[in-house]
Symmetry: C2
Subunit: 73 residues, 2 copies
């Protein structure tokens, strides 16, 4: 099992949390997604998956969910 955390910008409310979580849940092998919402900055999104998730897949899922972007850290 792999757990990765991402810094995601553009999330402002619970609706955004739901949109992002459900797109990430849809990725292959993802078991769990948690979001620590920081409405005024970057939110921490933690993804637990059977195998490591590719960064491009996360970027694509965020784009599908809305105007959310991955911070380079």
């Amino acid at each position: 099992m792999t757990t990765s955390s991402y810094q995601v910008t553009g999330m402002t409310c619970g609706h955004c949390v739901n949109a992002v979580s459900s797109e990430l849940q849809g990725l292959d092998g993802v078991q769990d997604v948690t979001v620590d919402l920081n409405a005024h900055g970057a939110s921490t999104v933690t993804v637990t998956s059977a195998a490591p998730v590719q960064r491009e897949q996360v970027v694509a899922a965020l784009d599908e969910a809305g105007d959310y972007h991955l911070l380079d850290v």
Copy 2:
């Protein structure tokens, strides 16, 4: 036809705009709802209806849509 504007707090993004708009659209006689989103303060919500909408109905619709509140102006 009656057009009323309200100052609503708690809206931060397009999802909130959709939630509030669709609840207000559901009120009897409402023809149109427009929202001018101010993510960091009170957003202006304009409701056009066949007959005047009661303030309590607006308050109830906002509550139904989420944690949105009418400012007393």
